[in-house]
């Protein structure tokens, strides 16, 4: 463990996720205000040197130049700002750029904001947008949205490894139970295995409770050079590994329908230069946009052998209190999935967990964590490793 951390999170803010009255400007402002307010020794907004805004621009809201609006809401018009878009992995990739900015010595303190406003449009327009990050020329023309793409993966997974319904249901039940402990979660209620098993189908074999909701929300983290982190707090959370990966956009062209090579590559890169091994990880924040995605993530990231993630999940190991809690904040499944905000929200959760401030959902003794953020059906992925300061 001798390698130096690459960056440090010194403050983090999070709005409620869900169907919210606030517009995108207000959501950015609220998340940033909370992040700034969370810095133990305070921070002068004037000391922020650059802004990375993660957003898909869902519904077409300010697809171009949205970063300038975010800078306005930070209260720093004129701040160097850029929008980062890698679909649902936008937040993870914005964090990656922030890490690079401080690790390279180019900046000392930068701000990462994740945002999406998804519920203020008509149902038709929402469906219109929900598939824009998948393969347009082949998958979309075959009538697929992401639920369908993950439905195909689940279909193949069940063919290779046997019935998977109970494991998928357990992912939903677990993440809803975790979400019930998270005051920011979109869904804060538990569900039963029977409710999940009898839910109406969406993209069979996936049904309603296998799918994450469409949510509004924003999250923000302040990322500092490790050398200056203690200027802001005695308990920074260090980013000790960062990896990204990509794969064919269309699932049909990938090596396997059951593996996200982008996730595997991102995890390998993150661990390659980190002072950590998988066995050191105390909790995972994985991209469970659909329940099957959590099983695939456990295998792609190297925490379960191929075909065994379901068994691991059914054993209770991934629940709070288990050997390896997964998505203690409820995950995308229960916390919600405002597209651009999700990757930043994962970092927010780890910031709380590794500082022992996660309240009822605290993973006891957590020192090291991993976040995993996937774009679309696995065309891009970002993985980050964190250690308590």
């Amino acid at each position: 463990m001798g390698r130096a951390p690459r960056a440090a999170i010194v403050g983090a803010g999070h709005t409620r996720f869900g169907v919210l009255a606030e517009g995108p400007r207000r959501l950015v402002r609220d998340a940033v205000d909370k992040a700034v307010g969370s810095v133990d020794r305070g921070v002068d907004r004037e000391s922020v040197e650059e802004l990375f805004l993660a957003t898909l621009g869902f519904s077409g809201w300010q697809l171009g130049n949205a970063a300038a609006i975010a800078a306005e809401e930070v209260g720093r018009p004129g701040l160097p700002a850029v929008r980062v878009e890698n679909a649902c992995a936008s937040g993870g990739f914005a964090l990656r750029l922030a890490v690079d900015a401080v690790a390279s010595g180019r900046r000392e303190l930068v701000l990462v904001v994740g945002l999406e406003k998804m519920t203020d449009v008509t149902n038709a327009r929402r469906r219109y947008w929900l598939g824009v990050s998948g393969d347009t020329e082949w998958e979309r023309l075959a009538g697929l949205t992401f639920a369908g793409v993950y439905g195909l993966m689940a279909s193949r997974y069940a063919t290779e490894y046997g019935p998977v319904r109970e494991a998928l249901s357990e992912v939903a039940v677990k993440n809803h139970a975790h979400g019930a402990l998270n005051p920011n979660a979109h869904f804060q209620k538990v569900v039963t295995r029977e409710q999940v098993n009898t839910a109406p189908p969406v993209a069979a074999p996936l049904a309603l409770y296998d799918c994450c909701p469409v949510s509004d929300g924003a999250a923000a983290v302040l990322v500092a050079r490790p050398e200056v982190a203690r200027r802001f707090t005695d308990t920074p959370v260090y980013i000790v590994g960062s990896g990204t990966g990509s794969d064919y956009l269309a699932v049909q062209e990938r090596a396997s329908l059951m593996r996200l090579e982008a996730s595997r590559g991102a995890a390998d890169e993150a661990f390659r230069n980190a002072p950590l091994e998988r066995k050191n990880i105390d909790l995972l924040e994985v991209h469970d946009c659909f329940t099957i995605a959590e099983l695939l993530a456990l295998e792609d990231l190297g925490f379960a052998p191929r075909g065994r993630a379901g068994r691991l999940t059914l054993s209770g190991a991934t629940r709070l209190g288990g050997r390896l809690p997964v998505n203690p904040d409820g995950g995308l499944k229960a916390k919600g999935h405002p597209i651009g905000a999700t990757g930043v929200s994962q970092a927010y959760e780890v910031f709380q967990q590794l500082r022992g401030q996660a309240g009822a959902r605290q993973v006891r003794g957590a020192q090291h964590a991993l976040t995993h953020n996937v774009g679309g059906s696995g065309a891009t992925a970002a993985v980050h490793l964190f250690s308590a300061g």
Partner: protein
């Protein structure tokens, strides 16, 4: 020198309304014609070096899509000619295609009847007749008899007797009247009893049949009912005899006749078959009354749509000359070794493809551009099918309710409408369960079992409609289709 009928095919939709077979919400005259031609293509190569020289279209086909037939068939320089949407149109097209005009290349004739779209594009809410397509490919092949034909017309004024007319017709076709065992399939608008007597008197050596003008599922279809007469003749010529189709109109003032010497390869059967599928609801008939733009987030501009139609419509991928790896769709770069020079197009078969994964899209979960398909026919399946080593395609499943397809099943791919966009329909390949659906290889044995097919997939041996497609336990399809009674 003339041409022979190398092969013929018939397709009809799986959907049934009353006694008529009608096209589904993703079918139109273009897809019906291409389906019939693709069936021919499986029997007699009509692409590459054997590409068609000319295509004769008879029926409600729009000239706007003339460019698309060459793309769909892999014929780069295909000349398209349109003929009137009636019986005479088909006879004229067949006569034109039978004439060899200095080129040995092949020509095809397709007769199409749409139940819901008129030739001028008018959309009908209630079908007036059935839908289907018949296709013929004509060319030169040693051992096959040349298609001889004759057309005669008499000006206003005194008309010869019926016996005299029949004599003239048989002479025009070179058919013996008193010797041999010829077959004639005869159609006339009226006076059938008198015609029957006249035939018996004037051509005692010829067996004459007077079939119904079309089977019930076609009804008064204006175009392809004539093709039914040819099919009936071909059915009667299984044993290699000589015969002709003869149609008299206007009391015999006009005559069209085609003579066949021996059997014809003919795919499909217009005889008795299992009932079709009933439309699940009235919205089935609310098809777009024209091509409207559909708002779409995942936008595919027209140039990108037509850029790779060979992959999209004909399943053409590529093979790397260096590492031999296959790729689909063709992108001009080897996915295995990265080579971008010299990749060779390679067409994958479109039949009997194995399903690797399948999902059922429930109503409401579809992208908005598929709303009209869902409104008409309910949710649908989407499958990933295996093409070859390391290659797959993602396709929507059609002609069958959602939830019936399973991993490991075999499917055939057919060209269908996807959705309208910016004034045009977008088309692509969809999957139908093997042996089911218009244009799929079906079980029906045609009239020509004595002529061995050139290449016939094994699937063609299973009886149509016999395939069992049980519901998946625990995942009841949102839509159930009923077989028409």
């Amino acid at each position: 020198m003339g041409r022979s009928i190398l092969s013929a095919s018939l397709v009809r939709p799986v959907w049934q309304h009353g006694s008529f077979r009608i096209e589904g919400p993703d079918e139109d005259p273009f897809t019906l014609a291409v389906s019939a031609l693709n069936r021919l293509g499986e029997q007699v190569p009509i692409d590459g070096a054997r590409a068609l020289q000319r295509l004769h279209l008879v029926g409600a086909t729009s000239p706007d899509l003339d460019w698309a037939y060459g793309e769909a068939l892999g014929s780069s320089a295909l000349e398209v000619q349109h003929h009137p949407a009636n019986t005479q149109g088909l006879w004229g097209a067949l006569g034109a295609a039978a004439q060899e005009e200095g080129s040995p290349r092949r020509e095809a004739v397709v007769a199409v009847d749409s139940a819901t779209t008129r030739a001028d594009g008018t959309v009908l809410r209630q079908p007036l007749h059935g839908a289907g397509a018949a296709a013929f490919v004509l060319g030169q092949e040693p051992g096959l008899a040349v298609l001889r034909h004759g057309f005669l017309g008499h000006p206003p004024g005194r008309l010869p007797s019926m016996k005299g007319l029949i004599h003239d017709w048989l002479e025009a076709l070179g058919l013996p009247t008193t010797s041999g065992r010829g077959e004639v399939v005869f159609a006339a608008e009226d006076d059938l009893a008198r015609w029957q007597t006249a035939w018996e008197d004037s051509a005692p050596g010829v067996t004459v049949t007077f079939p119904e003008r079309a089977p019930p599922h076609l009804g008064p279809a204006p175009t392809i009912r004539a093709a039914f007469l040819l099919w009936e003749l071909a059915r009667r010529l299984r044993t290699g005899r000589t015969g002709a189709v003869v149609e008299a109109t206007r009391g015999g003032r006009a005559f069209a006749g085609f003579r066949l010497d021996g059997p014809v390869r003919w795919l499909g059967n217009w005889g008795e078959t299992a009932p079709g599928l009933e439309p699940p609801n009235e919205r089935f008939f609310e098809r777009a009354a024209g091509v409207e733009a559909v708002s779409q987030g995942a936008y595919v501009p027209h140039p990108r749509y037509v850029e790779n139609l060979s992959s999209r419509w004909r399943l053409v991928g590529e093979r790397c000359p260096q590492c031999r790896a296959l790729g689909f769709p063709a992108r001009g770069r080897c996915r295995s070794c990265g080579r971008s020079e010299g990749l060779q197009p390679e067409a994958f078969p479109r039949t009997r493809l194995q399903v690797e994964a399948v999902t059922s899209i429930s109503p409401g979960a579809q992208p908005t551009e598929f709303d009209s398909i869902v409104a008409a026919a309910g949710g649908y399946d989407v499958a990933v099918v295996r093409l070859g080593v390391g290659t797959r395609a993602t396709v929507q499943v059609t002609d069958t309710p959602a939830g019936h397809l399973r991993v490991g099943d075999r499917v055939d791919l057919v060209l269908r409408r996807l959705y309208p966009m910016e004034g045009e329909w977008r088309y692509g390949l969809k999957a139908v369960p093997e042996g089911l659906g218009a244009g799929a290889w079906q079980s029906e044995s045609g009239p020509t079992s004595s002529v061995p097919p050139v290449r016939r997939p094994p699937s063609s041996s299973a009886p149509r409609g016999s395939r069992s497609t049980p519901h998946r336990p625990g995942a009841r399809p949102a839509t159930r289709y009923r077989r028409a009674r």
